[in-house]
């Protein structure tokens, strides 16, 4: 794809370019043309898009198939998400071999939300491996050219493998030690959970600096008061700052003109995240931003403009 590099994402990270990644969430459907459309809108702004794998334990269209279609139809590089919840090591191995055959090069290894949180809570959760072990397995496929048990792979795959971390986690020390485990397993980049807390984020980034693994921070621009409130209530451990919630609520109530309201909300997001991210770029070794803006892609170009490439 890009000379000595396996993917554009790898090239950006290795060359020390600040990266933007986006997020796409194919749903319970056989037609992902809307998702592909979103991918097209993000082209030129983000270097790659994460494609979720049964997020929140809901049974959706296969992540590998969606990833393939998005790369093929929209020309958008993907970060293929893979969870340990629904597949044992055999299924994970074949999924990865298939993914590589279909041109997928970036993988994000996740544990996965528990089945009881999802839309088929009666299901049996698998968790044959955990996320650190999945990273280990992928690296083994790439570096040693074998599966987990040591059986050789003909035409072994080449992947860049990432893991996740949570800057909001308390106690932070436990999260850092978990990060260390993933680094030992072979994590090559990290994408984080969404955060709004600059102090916690700085502390987290400072602590993980020593591992020299590029960290891409998750941010979540708030499209409306409703979404902000939902997020605040339903994502424990990650509060939306009060002043943001208040301003959004006032805009929601106070501004009747739809266009004007949109504009004000966009301005608020650009101001908050602009400052937040510029500050982090100044004071830490942040490698990039993962902008979770499903259904709010219009915010990405102006955001990038204020935060900078």
């Amino acid at each position: 794809m890009s000379g000595q590099y396996i993917s554009e994402l790898e090239r950006h990270l290795k060359e020390g370019k600040f990266v933007y990644t986006g997020e796409l969430e194919p749903e319970k459907t056989t037609d992902i043309s809307e998702t592909i459309e979103m991918a097209r809108e993000l082209k030129g702004y983000v270097v790659a898009c994460n494609v979720t794998d049964n997020p929140r334990a809901c049974a959706y269209i296969s992540s590998v198939v969606a990833s393939y279609l998005i790369q093929k139809e929209a020309g958008m590089e993907v970060i293929f998400q893979l969870t340990c919840r629904d597949r044992n090591r055999l299924a994970l191995t074949s999924e990865l071999l298939g993914a590589y055959a279909l041109g997928i090069r970036n993988v994000l290894a996740l544990t996965g939300d528990h089945t009881t949180l999802g839309d088929n809570p009666q299901a049996k959760p698998v968790f044959d491996l955990d996320s650190a072990q999945l990273i280990y397995m992928i690296r083994k496929m790439v570096d040693e050219k074998t599966d987990l048990a040591g059986n050789p792979i003909h035409h072994p795959p080449k992947f860049i493998v990432g893991g996740v971390a949570n800057p909001n986690a308390e106690p932070l020390e436990a999260e850092i030690l978990k990060f260390a485990r993933k680094v030992k397993a072979g994590m090559q980049f990290c994408q984080t959970q969404v955060t709004f807390d600059i102090e916690k984020t700085k502390a987290f980034l400072k602590e993980v600096e020593r591992f020299e693994v590029p960290v891409i921070l998750g941010i979540f621009p708030l499209k409306s008061y409703g979404i902000a409130e939902f997020f605040d209530k339903n994502v424990p451990g990650c509060a939306v700052p009060r002043h943001l919630l208040e301003s959004l609520r006032e805009m929601d109530k106070g501004i009747t003109d739809k266009q004007k309201r949109k504009q004000k909300i966009d301005e608020l997001n650009i101001e908050f995240f602009g400052e937040f991210c510029r500050e982090l770029r100044k004071t830490t070794r942040l490698a990039g931003l993962h902008v979770m803006a499903v259904g709010y892609t219009r915010i990405i170009p102006p955001l990038i403009e204020v935060i900078g490439r």
Binding site: T116, L117, A132, A174
Partner: protein, 219 residues
């Protein structure tokens, strides 16, 4: 101990309905709540009364066995009754029920309990907590004596996962303790956080694959 819960009486009546003479076999072993002679007598009374109310005359013989998981003890304790009854209702765990089946293959045997897990109770009357899943490869030496296989909802070996918030687990809505949070705290207290940082490779799931067998010791 092996924690069990009683099955609804209607389910039990459904099993034994075609029969009249029922041997109610308690167990004095590790089954919990206690299911010895006293409980066997209670079951006998309940079944006879419920039968009567529905127009059926059961005849129950309540007995108990020191350990229903021991073929020999089961044989000596029950063999004198077996020819007198039409069916056996076992008050023991699932192991006990199966041992009776093995020892007396010609008579129908039914469970009165749902066997739930191996666990403990912090104090009398309190809730029981599952503590061990008999995974066959005990990790407690690395985890400060707290079992991640059983007490982490995802059985993670390199936890905690992203679902941990303020020490609580995402499963059940952040009410229960996250096992990996407990492990972290314990190892920190013991000055062994080095163990918490150690990557644990995938396990050999064959060790925990049922059905399992182990060599016996001759007494």
């Amino acid at each position: 101990m092996i924690v069990t819960r009683e099955k609804p009486l209607d389910e039990i009546l459904g099993y034994i309905w075609p029969f009249t003479k029922i041997l109610i076999a308690g167990c004095d072993g590790c089954v919990h709540p206690p299911r010895g002679l006293r409980e066997a007598k209670t079951y006998a009374l309940m079944i006879e009364m419920a039968g009567k109310a529905k127009g059926k005359q059961f005849e129950c013989i309540p007995v108990t066995v020191a350990k229903q998981c021991d073929n020999n003890i089961v044989y000596t304790s029950l063999q004198s009754y077996i020819n007198e009854v039409d069916a056996v209702l076992s008050l023991a765990c699932g192991v006990g029920v199966q041992v009776i089946v093995e020892v007396f293959p010609d008579i129908p045997v039914f469970p009165a309990q749902n066997t739930v897990f191996m666990g403990s109770q912090p104090k009398e009357g309190a809730i029981f907590y599952e503590k061990c899943r008999a995974c066959g490869e005990c990790l407690l030496g690395y985890t400060g004596g707290i079992c991640p296989v059983t007490r982490c909802a995802k059985s993670l070996l390199n936890g905690p996962c992203g679902g941990q918030v303020n020490g609580k687990c995402e499963v059940g809505g952040w009410v229960r303790d996250c096992a990996w949070y407990l492990i972290y705290q314990r190892l920190k207290k013991l000055g062994r956080l080095d163990l918490f940082e150690e990557f644990r490779p995938p396990r050999d799931q064959r060790i925990a694959s049922s059905p399992r067998e182990v060599g016996g010791l001759v007494r």
